[in-house]
């Protein structure tokens, strides 16, 4: 029996979770929410994490009914992510590891999402769509690596959504993407916009600038409502994601899809992916906001898998890195 604690703070969420051999004992989280029209900046986000860290840590221990001495390994997000929030969170993790005298594991954030998704849904060997504020990747496992088949060639899908929400001055509470999703439910009229798929890669920057240039005048002229624009944006970018996922599935002859990452809790995206899967006799696996959105349990779980297979991060290597590709990690805890 192994118990792991995980610290996640690579973006505007601070999460601390405790996992015991694939069972989530606690998964506590706070989100740094900025005013409408504003994104989150590294310095302020790091400050948020520092302020909340000890409160959430206590919560996570209490909820899990676990004492520090019961914990076997301390896991933290090594990257990718924003420098200052990453480091602030890792300092907390490394400090408690020293205090409690526990081994440490630095975890790749993307791998955390994937392993958590597999654990919660029971998907065995899925094609993974990883969609969040900073990432857009189509991933499949082969030869001990999570290989990237397709990705955005410019900005991430969540970044595109967040920045569009700023154009419309939508609230960032609980998240800009959530508010776009709610607005889109009342949209009807589809605005034609760029649709950019290159092989298994996608591009969103053209769409974003297209919308930024036109949104105001389209609304002023009364041709489209804000709801129509949210609807059109979602329909277009999600279609691109489903299409590239399907391309990867065809190429890999895969019949499972797993959606992970913050944008993955969007129900319209899940619905579209589900229809695609049905049309090719495949199966969709998705999770809800507890596990889709950045959280501590996913870092604990991935770290626990690594720990159980002999991984240990040496003290002098307990650094953070803003760039850390999914395919850099050798996945020793899965078969060929």
């Amino acid at each position: 029996m192994v118990i792991a604690i995980g610290f996640e703070g690579s973006a505007n969420k601070l999460g601390i979770g405790i996992v015991k051999d694939g069972e989530v004992l606690s998964n506590c989280r706070r989100t740094y929410i900025t005013p409408p029209g504003e994104g989150f900046l590294p310095r302020e986000t790091a400050q948020h994490h520092r302020e909340k860290a000890l409160i959430i840590l206590q919560e996570a221990l209490d909820e899990a009914k676990v004492k520090p001495q019961d914990i076997d390994v301390v896991c933290y997000t090594k990257g990718p992510g924003m420098g200052a929030p990453l480091v602030s969170t890792s300092v907390v993790a490394l400090t408690v590891a020293q205090l409690w005298n526990k081994p440490v594991i630095g975890v790749n954030h993307c791998i955390g999402h994937i392993e958590m998704g597999r654990l919660i849904t029971g998907a065995d060997n899925p094609t993974v769509l990883y969609v969040s504020g900073g990432n857009t990747q189509v991933i499949a496992y082969s030869r001990r690596r999570y290989r990237i088949f397709g990705e955005t060639i410019d900005i991430a899908v969540g970044n595109c959504l967040d920045r569009f929400a700023r154009v419309l001055k939508l609230s960032n509470d609980p998240s800009p993407g959530y508010n776009i999703e709610q607005m889109a439910k009342n949209g009807k009229k589809l605005l034609k916009m760029p649709y950019v798929v290159k092989g298994m890669d996608v591009s969103f920057s053209g769409i974003l600038s297209f919308m930024e240039e036109r949104a105001e005048s389209l609304l002023d002229l009364g041709e489209y409502t804000a709801e129509d624009l949210c609807f059109s944006l979602q329909e277009t970018i999600f279609a691109m994601l489903v299409e590239t996922t399907e391309r990867a599935m065809a190429h890999c002859e895969s019949s499972e899809v797993l959606i992970v990452g913050g944008v993955g809790c969007n129900l319209r995206l899940q619905e579209m992916m589900g229809i695609m899967c049905k049309e090719r006799n495949a199966k969709l696996f998705a999770t809800d906001d507890r596990f889709c959105i950045d959280n501590g349990a996913m870092i604990a779980h991935a770290g626990l898998e690594m720990f159980s297979h002999g991984w240990k991060t040496l003290w002098e290597e307990t650094t953070c890195t803003q760039r850390y590709r999914t395919d850099e990690v050798e996945v020793t805890w899965r078969g060929e």
Partner: protein, 230 residues
């Protein structure tokens, strides 16, 4: 129309549509049907399907002029969303060819067997680009391997739905980048394979290979440098 469609049988579900096999006007024929995708908005689906069919039909013909082997086009029917084309008989995908070879032979033998295929892929892509044709989805699933009656290796390029014509070094660079990534994620010997492809690419696309390869490096570097937050 319905009579032309008689006797066709589902053969594969590809990335964009279903592929059927049968006979049309007495010839072995493949039909690619881009069926309605209900996951996307009907207007978007209609628009994309038309564009993809047009692109495919155009590029199949254009590539022939460029000296690249493609299936002969028999019929394009927008109504039923079907394209009828020559079946490349006795062919397998290059993906299957490479993976079968790797699993059947020693490393040295498989390298010798795959070498001429890699060279041919490079020169095909080189010829396409020299004629400003961007394929848009260069993977080993979209290349067919077959042997002529004389035992000559023949590679046929298919699946031109994402293609376009553009004299752009950037687009050609992205085309190569898509190919490299598809190889790296699919084939364990890709590290050796891709340089061979580039070598023969350079020989064929003399006109702008320097510019294209610079762009390719640039696109690649962008991928590595991209910060990923969240």
């Amino acid at each position: 129309m319905s009579s032309a469609w008689e006797g066709f049988e589902l053969f594969k579900q590809g990335a964009e549509g279903r592929v059927y096999k049968g006979t049309y006007l007495g010839r072995p024929t493949i039909v690619k049907e881009r069926f309605k995708k209900f996951y996307r908005h009907p207007d978007l689906d209609e628009h994309l399907t038309k564009e993809r069919m047009k692109a495919e039909a155009r590029a199949i013909a254009r590539s022939k002029t460029a000296g690249v082997r493609t299936p002969c086009l028999y019929l394009v029917d927008f109504e039923s969303r079907r394209i009828f084309m020559e079946e490349i008989q006795g062919s397998i995908t290059v993906k299957k060819f490479i993976n079968d070879t790797l699993s059947d032979c020693s490393e040295e033998d498989s390298f010798r067997t795959i070498l001429p295929v890699a060279t041919e892929i490079g020169s095909i892509v080189g010829r396409l680009h020299a004629s400003n044709i961007i394929h848009g989805d260069l993977t080993t699933s979209n290349m067919l391997y077959s042997l002529s009656t004389e035992g000559q290796i023949s590679i046929t390029l298919i699946d031109f739905g994402l293609s376009h014509v553009e004299n752009s070094a950037e687009d050609k660079g992205v085309d190569l980048y898509v190919l490299e990534r598809a190889l790296l994620s699919t084939h364990s010997n890709a590290e050796k394979l891709f340089p061979l492809i580039l070598q023969s690419y350079k020989k064929v696309n003399v006109k702008d290979s320097k510019l294209v390869l610079d762009k390719f490096e640039e696109v690649r570097a962008r991928g590595r440098k991209r910060t990923m937050v969240g």
